[in-house]
Amino acid sequence: MSTYADPYASSRETTEGTVFSVTGGDWDSLVTEIGQAKEERVVVNMGPQHPSTHGVLRLVLELEGETVTEVRCGIGYLHTGIEKNIEFRNWTQATTFVTRMDYLAPLFNEAAYCLGVEKLLGITNDVPEKANVIRVMMMEFNRISSHMVALGTGALELGALSPMIFCFREREKVLDIFEFISGLRMNMAYIRPGGVAQDLPAGTVDKVLATVKDLRHSFKDNEKLLVGNSIWMKRTEGIGYLDLAGATTLGVTGPVIRATGLPLDLRKIQPYSGYENYKFDVVTADTCDVYGRFLIRINELEQSLRIIEQCAEKLKSLEGGPVMVADKKIAWPAQLSIGADGMGNSLNHIREIMGTSMESLIHHFKLVTEGFRVPAGQVYSAIESPRGELGAHVVSDGGTRPYRVHFREPSFNNLQSTSAMCEGSMVADIIGAVASIDPVMGGVDR
C-alpha cells in the first residue's frame, strides 16, 4: 500500500466490494491489491472534474479489463435551480435566467421560452416579420457557434488538437456578429417575448454577408482535416451505435436520431418563427455512429449558412421595420442607443415619453416595474436546438410571474442513451460517444 496515509488513497470496504483510490506512484501496490481480489471487475469513477467529459458529468464505469460492462451517468453537479428562480421574476426577467441553461446555445433557450410566452399571450402572429427574421438569423449563427464548440471539443477529447483551434477561430467570428448586434458575446438575453431587444445597427447586413463568405471558406479547414481521415474514422466509425428503435424509445432527438436516417427536424415538420419560408435541407446519415453524427454537424454548418444568407436578403428589404410587437402593453421598450455613459434608452425615446406621450411613459413604467400579465393556461413550445428538441412547458396563473416553467432539454434526454451506446465497448470509445451526443451540462442540470 502507499507509504503514508493519504486521506484520499486508502482502500476501503463497501457494500459493493473494495474501493481503491489511486493517487499516483502507487500503481504497483494497487495492482497487487487488485490481483488478490477475487473479482476481475473494477469500478472506475470518471469524476465530475475530468478533461474529457464535456463539463461536470460523472461517469461511473464498471470495467472488465478495457471493456466497459456498465456505464452510469451521475449528473446534477451544475443544478442551478433556474426553473424555481424564474417563479420569482417577471416574464421578461426570466429571459436572462433561461439564457444561461444551455450556455452554448443561449438564443435557443430564449427563443423556446419566448415562443411559449407568446403562445400563451396569443401574439404569435403579431410578432413583426423583421423580428422573426432576426431571430432566425441569430439562431442559425448560434447553431454554427454551438457546432463549432461541439466539433472542437469532441476532436480535442479524441486527441485531435488542431480542430479545436480552427473551430474556436471560426467561433470568434460568429461571436463578433453577436457582439455587434446584441452587445454581448454569450448569454445575450436578446430575444424577448414579443420580438427582440433592439434593432439591428447600421451595416449589419454587409457584415453578416462578409462573415458568411469568410466562414464558408474556413470551414473547409476542418473538413479537409477530419472528413475521410483514416485515423479519425477508425476512432469514430462503428462507435456509439444507437439505432432508430433505441433512439425513439429513449426520446433522443437531434443529430443523434438524424444519424439513424430519420429526418426529424422541427424546423421542417413543425416550423416556427417563419422557418417555412427558408430553403434548406435536413442533413441525415445512416450509419448510427459517431462518424455519422460528426458528418451531420459538419453539413449542418453549410445549411445554416444558407439560411443566414436568405435572412440577410430579407433584411435588406425590411430596413426600418419594427422589431417588437405593436401592443404597447407587452412590448419591452426597445429603443436603446449608445450614449456618453454607455448603452441606455435613446434620447429620442426619453424625449417622447417625457415630453409628448403620457401613455408611453406609463407603459414604460408599468412594464419595467410590474411587467405584463399573461392569461392563465399552459403551453409547450418546442424548437430545434443544435442538440435536439428544446421544449418549454410554460404554465401561467394569470400573473406577472411565471407559475412554472419546465424545460425539456435535449441534452438531458440524449445523455440517458450513454449506457445504451457504450456498454460493451472500450473505455476510449465512451469519450467519443459522449462527445457525439454533445451534452451541455448547464442544460442537463438546469
Binding site: I75, G76, H79, G81, E83, K84, N85, F88, R89, N90, K119, L120, G122, T248, T249, L250, G251, V252, T253, L262, L264, I269, Q270, T369, E370, G371, A376, G377, Q378, V379, Y380, A382, E389, G391, H393, V395, D397, G398, G399, T400, R401, Y403, R404, H406, R408, F412, N413, L415, Q416, D445, R446
Partner: protein
Amino acid sequence: MSQDQQGMFGAAGTGDTSGYGGLVRSAASTGSTERPFGGYFDQVTDDLERAYTDFADAIERVVVDRGELTLHIKRERLVEVSLILRDKLKFEMNMGVSGVHYPEDTNRELHAVYHLLSITNNQRIRLEVSVADTDPHIPSLVEVWAGSNWNERETFDMFGIIFDGHPGLTRILMPDDWQGHPQRKDYALGGIGVEYKGAVTPPPSDRRTYK
C-alpha cells in the same frame, strides 16, 4: 385549475397602504372543452376512444387550449392508455415528464405532465395526471418509453412524486442526501439577503414585487 390570487403585491406584511392588498383575482377554471376540437385533435380523441373502451372512465377531462390538446387521466389507467397511444396511435416519443405543484388544488396538488410526439403523424398531445400531496404515487412509464427513466427521477427529486415501478427512483439533480423537494411551492427559494454597508437587499422571494 382555479387559483384565487389575493392581493397585488408579493411580499406580505410590508405595510402596504395602497388598498390593492384587498384585490382578489380568480383565474377561470377550465372545464372540459366542447367538441369539435379542431385540427387533428378530434381524430386523435376518436381513435383513442375506439381503441380504448374505458375512455370515458379513464379520461377525466379533455382540454383544447391555445392549439394544444390535453388529456387529464386517472393515474390507475395511465400505463394502459400510454400503451395504446404508443402502439395504436403511433405516439412513439415521450418528450418528458414535467411536474407542477398547485397547492390550492386540494387533493390534486401534484400534476405530472407528459408531452407525447408522434413522428409518423406529426402530432403532439399532452397527458396530465393529478395526485394528492398525501398520496403522491403515479405508475411509472419506463416500461412504455425507456426515456422516461431520468425524467421521472427528476420529477421525484423536484416534487416528491413517487413513480411506482421505476427501476431506480433516486435523486438525480440534488445531492443524494438532500432533504425536501425543491421545486414545490412550499419549499423556500433559499436565497440569502445581500448585506452591504448597513443595507440589506432581500433575496427575490422576499422582495416587494407584484404578484
